[in-house]
């Protein structure tokens, strides 16, 4: 278990979620916790994404002290030396979807945070270029939000023209 986690200086630790060591942090602790993790040897940000829990049925399996919000930013770090992975989770409220950017720690978060912005509308404070990455620049809405429909066109089946 990495040093950072021994005293759990930040947030709440859970290891049942996602069968991985996961640290639940608040938005204020987030950047500090990430910095500490980096100093502890988690040298690479492997993934950063988000989940919209708007329509999730029932309670989420989260430690009791976590204040669940609509969005959850899911970060995954990797320590190449010890081959360990560490998850960071931040709750982001729906009415003010802002989280700190990790760009200053890992510039590799640039595209990933832009993608989360594009798909979920979560802004990352301190990101150098918070713009859409996948959708056209003038697109309205954030497709991966649960209240955004898939946008299907109903498939029309042409009726059989004549009885054979």
């Amino acid at each position: 278990m990495p040093e950072l986690l021994e005293g759990v200086r930040y947030g709440v630790l859970a290891s049942e979620v996602s069968s991985q060591v996961v640290l639940f942090v608040t938005a204020e602790e987030y950047f500090e916790a990430a910095t500490a993790a980096r100093n502890d040897g988690f040298d690479c940000l492997i993934d950063l994404t988000a989940v919209d829990y708007l329509s999730y049925p029932g309670a989420r399996a989260r430690p009791a002290s976590v204040d669940c919000q609509r969005f959850e930013v899911v970060v995954q770090l990797i320590n190449h030396r010890t081959r360990e992975r560490l998850g960071l989770r931040v709750q982001v409220p729906a009415d003010e979807p802002v989280a700190p950017s990790l760009f200053d720690l890992w510039p590799g978060s640039e595209n990933l945070e832009r993608e989360v912005f594009d798909m979920f509308g979560i802004e990352f404070a301190g990101h150098p270029d918070m713009s859409r990455v996948l959708m056209p620049e003038d697109w309205v809405g954030h497709p991966l939000r649960k209240d955004y429909s898939v946008g299907e066109i109903p498939v029309q089946f042409s009726p059989q023209s004549e009885p054979r």
């Binding site: 056209p136 003038d138 697109w139 309205v140 809405g141 497709p143 898939v150 066109i153 498939v155």
Partner: protein, 202 residues
């Protein structure tokens, strides 16, 4: 055998391959032009997704599109006669597709390769244009996901047949879409009640 205007064969000396019968072709200009068009139909590279790989495979050694005079994939639309739209067209790509099509010289043809290009395929969602016929007029649809090189070749040969008979150009004149070639004239719009739309210039 009778050679036109000369009389019975045998009345003149046999001239072999230099003989008249080997050196005259009677045709009309239209057929000649169609034949020429059919035999050198250069595709523009418009590979988008998985289907593009099968398109490239068709051009490579094993399937060898060169047999049909088609191996020259042109990067510049100005030099191409045929656009093979190989893959799914997203809302962001649709204007580009239209622009490339507009840059091609007449006469031009379009093959819609794969179910994604033809109808959106399995991706019936906000991101994918449900069929490129909403953006450009399509001459031949190649089904499959992905259509194998054989299917593509079949599509190409079908197109060649259509070019040869001139059917396609005639049809365009009748429908009046020859010059403008506006496709089905459907505008691609962002759905689910969102206001901003992507309108395709036509």
């Amino acid at each position: 055998m009778r050679i036109p205007g000369v009389g019975k064969a045998g009345e003149i000396a046999e001239e072999g391959l230099a003989g008249l019968e080997h050196n005259f072709i009677t045709s009309n200009v239209e057929e000649l032009v169609n034949w020429a068009r059919m035999r050198s139909c250069w595709p523009a590279t418009f590979g988008l997704a998985c289907c593009a790989f099968e398109m490239m495979a068709a051009g490579a050694a094993h399937y060898d599109l060169a047999r049909y005079g088609m191996e020259v994939f042109r990067a510049s639309p100005r030099q191409a006669d045929l656009m093979i739209v190989a893959g799914r067209v997203s809302q962001k790509m649709a204007p580009v597709l239209r622009q490339v099509y507009d840059q091609m010289m007449e006469p031009k043809w379009v093959i819609s390769m794969g179910v994604c290009a033809s109808s959106g395929g399995m991706f019936n969602n906000y991101a994918i244009v449900q069929g490129i016929d909403q953006v450009v007029p399509v001459d031949v649809y190649a089904p499959g996901c992905p259509p194998g090189p054989e299917t593509l070749m079949h599509a190409i040969l079908t197109l060649h047949e259509k070019i040869k008979t001139g059917e396609l150009l005639k049809r365009r004149q009748v429908s009046g879409s020859g010059e403008t070639a506006s496709g089905a004239g459907i505008m691609v719009q962002q759905r689910d009640g969102q206001t901003a739309g992507l309108t395709i210039r036509s």
